[in-house]
């Protein structure tokens, strides 16, 4: 690619990186504000709950500054800058980005997650699969029916029957699929990333 052809791409990448630097800056600043409410270190625990997040906030601010500086100095080494900014999976990212598909699929996923405890797994999953497949351009009717009906049954057999994990039954049948004791937003008793470990 020659220098002239590279210019619009360079400008676009600079804008993207400056916006990303702004996002990192925002995360750093918000983190600093949130840290202010945490207890400071004591003689018994000099770092305290505030210390580690403070270091991370400094890291975010540093990354934001470095990214912004790199974007602003991009004109000095445009080729190296564009190479370093390339999508790591550029090989499979060629071709158009279908944003409308992505938005519709995202709405469908969010809808599925929200409706799953209410409607129940066996009723909502076929509708979810049909919607997702249609959003992606569809497949042959026979494959669609087999997938929409067969796959939820297979997943149900795997989880509910084989592994003994009750799946959400929804309002229509709260007892048979064991949902009555599952729709709980309480603290889980299993391993998590934070204090629960």
């Amino acid at each position: 690619m020659n220098t002239a052809a590279r210019q619009p791409q360079l400008r676009r990448q600079q804008h993207v990186d400056l916006a990303l630097a702004g996002t990192l800056l925002l995360i750093g600043v918000l983190l600093l504000i949130a840290i202010a409410g945490l207890p400071a270190g004591t003689s018994a625990d000099p770092v305290g709950p505030r210390g580690f997040p403070s270091l991370l906030a400094v890291g975010f601010l540093g990354s934001a500054t470095a990214l912004a500086a790199k974007a602003m100095l991009a004109r000095r080494h445009p080729r190296a800058y564009l190479l370093a900014s390339a999508d790591p999976d550029s090989a499979d990212s060629e071709g158009p980005v279908l944003r409308s598909r992505l938005v519709l699929a995202s709405i469908t996923i969010v809808g599925y997650v929200l409706l799953l405890p209410i409607v129940g797994f066996l009723l909502i999953t076929p509708a979810f699969i049909v919607a997702l497949i249609i959003i992606q351009g569809g497949v042959a009717t026979r494959s669609l029916i087999v997938m929409a009906v067969g796959f939820p049954i297979a997943v149900y057999l795997l989880f509910a029957v084989l592994l003994g994990v009750p799946l959400p039954g929804g309002v229509f049948d709260p007892m048979s699929l064991g949902v009555s004791d599952t729709v709980s937003l309480g603290v889980s008793d299993t391993v998590s990333l934070g204090g629960g470990r």
Binding site: L24, I27, A34, L38, S43, D45, P46, V47, P49, G51, G59, F60, S63, A66, L67, A84, D87, P88, D89, A91, D92, G95, P96, V97, L98, R101, L102, A105, I109, V113, L116, F121, I129, L132, I133, I135, Q136, G137, G138, S143, M147, F159, L163, V165, L167, T182, S184, L185, G186, V187, S188, D189, T190, V191, S192, L193, G194, G195, G196, R197
Partner: protein, 505 residues
């Protein structure tokens, strides 16, 4: 060591153990053969199932997936020029050239056998290194462990993507997530914003599934690949003869060496297979055949790709520092089972480690018959249309996450991190670096705070202890590497004109 390994082999001899390894191999091979699903994604999707297993069986299953995934990705790479995973991209060059010459079966056979050899050698080396390393690191205290976590994260963040700054930012994001929940020393809530469901932090597996599976499916929806219309279903695996294998010994040895070393530093299977391909070509007696259908061109990258697994597990199991996404998932599975990874792992749960080592050795051997037997199934699965595959993976991801605690909040967490992971992938922030931050964050903060308690608040403790100081210095050098390289380049460039002008005089 041999006694431990013997009991490890004995623990595999259960129906559930053998089934777990076989299922893992089959799922790993099929999963990686499907474009869009890589080894870590195939492993992440199975993590919820490990929750109902004992730790040994869970590790046998994941060992099977890991080994299977290394081979599975080469099937579409050889047959249709579409690598199932990035690690198999180098196999496309000569593997597909051989397929076009009607030697697809032989190329698949070389990939399978050399991969198994590479995987087996790397696991033997892993066992040989982890046990003595584990004994050395037992003497490490909090400052050394903190320094090691900093070093591990620095290395991964700098090699995780094309931009080091974005790699570091992604790792910082992973670390930040671990600060949510009850503070590990004082027990006070931190960044929970009054939400009781955040008191125990984010569910690790939900975040992993979001980052790896959901994010990738969103990426596939937004950027659909080409439809696979024609694939030769009559191909059969043809194993190489002993004479052919002897002829491939040089490239297999190069692949093993490169894979193990690159795996240890965490550069990943894609880097190791391309480096091995280049080195095999350089040392080959017939370099002109590379790119036109050379068996050596298949053997070297496929051996490296499989050897990578043993290399990546050395720092993960000896030090608790994963150097790849797959190794991070193994550590996540251990955490899920209540086993704490880190230098004390060998002393506290050597039974678990030996079972895992034995499972890795056995699955590398079992891969041969399984790989031959399920080739047709893999080819059939590769032909499955993407919309069917994506919707299936999404249902499995969401229901798998739900099954962990039967808690809808976990599903919401997985979806939110799926969207975040998608955005990170699009804008060049490596989700793998974030996951490594996630796995290391809790250990890193704990050891930092304990170190500072030991020194009564003086950070000099990291400089006064030689091992910690050296490791932190190495981390600083890794971070400053681009700057050092630029300064050296500048000095070379400034010397060059002077030399040229002297020559003219």
């Amino acid at each position: 060591m041999l006694e431990g390994l013997g009991s490890g082999f004995l623990s595999l001899l259960t129906l559930s153990g053998i089934l777990a390894m076989l299922l893992g191999l089959i799922w790993g091979t099929i999963g990686a053969a499907l474009p869009g699903i890589s080894g870590p994604q195939a492993m992440a999707l199975l993590l919820p199932l490990t929750f109902v297993m004992d730790v040994g069986t869970a590790l046998m299953l994941l060992a099977g997936v890991w080994v299977g995934a290394n081979y599975g990705g080469s099937i579409p790479a050889i047959l249709i020029r579409t690598p199932g995973t990035a690690s198999n991209a180098a196999a496309v060059i000569d593997g597909n050239a051989l397929a076009r010459q009607g030697k697809a079966g032989k190329a698949l056979g070389v990939s399978l056998v050399c991969g198994c050899i590479g995987g087996f050698i790397s696991v033997v080396l892993l066992i040989a290194l982890v046990v003595p390393l584990g004994q050395i690191t037992l003497s490490f205290a909090s400052p050394e462990i903190f320094a090691l976590t900093v070093f591990g994260l620095t290395v991964i963040a700098t090699v995780a993507g094309p931009s080091m700054i974005k790699g570091i930012a992604a790792a910082l994001f992973g670390l930040l997530l671990t600060t949510v929940g009850l503070d590990q020393i004082t027990g006070a809530p931190r960044f929970t914003f009054g939400r009781p469901e955040l008191l125990s932090g984010f569910e690790l597996i939900a975040v992993l599934i979001g980052f790896f599976a959901i994010a990738e499916m969103l990426y596939q929806i937004a950027r659909p690949g080409e439809i696979i219309s024609k694939i030769d279903r009559s191909v059969n695996t043809k194993l190489p003869t002993l004479r052919e294998l002897t002829a491939l010994r040089r490239s297999t040895a190069i692949g093993s060496g490169v894979g193990i070393v690159v795996g240890m530093v965490g550069a990943g299977g894609a880097v190791s297979s391309f480096v091995a391909y280049g080195e095999a070509k350089r040392w080959s007696k017939e370099p002109e055949k590379f790119g036109k259908g050379s068996m050596e061109g298949v053997a070297a990258p496929e051996t490296a790709n499989n050897s990578d697994q043993g290399g990546a597990l050395v720092p993960a199991l000896a030090l608790g520092i994963p150097s790849s996404a797959s190794a991070a998932i193994i550590l996540a599975a251990l955490i899920l089972q209540g086993v704490r990874p880190g230098p004390a792992l060998m002393a506290e749960r050597s039974d678990v480690l030996y079972t895992f080592f034995a499972a890795l050795l056995v699955t590398n051997v079992l891969m041969l018959p399984v790989g031959i037997a399920i080739l047709r199934l893999c080819i059939a699965m590769v032909s499955v249309r993407a919309p069917l595959l994506i919707s299936g993976v999404l249902v499995l991801s969401l229901i798998g996450t739900y099954s962990l605690n039967r808690n809808p909040t976990d599903v919401v967490v997985a979806v939110v991190f799926g969207f975040i992971g998608y955005a990170m992938k699009v804008y060049g922030f490596s989700p793998a670096a974030a996951v490594l931050g996630l796995v290391l964050g809790y250990i890193m903060e704990g050891e930092l705070r304990r170190s500072m308690m030991m020194s009564l608040g003086s950070p000099e403790i990291f400089l006064n202890r030689p091992i910690a100081a050296v490791v932190l210095l190495l981390a600083a050098l890794v971070l400053l590497r681009p700057l050092i390289a630029r300064v050296r380049r500048g000095m070379r460039n400034s010397r060059a004109p002077r030399r040229r002008s002297r020559d003219r005089i």
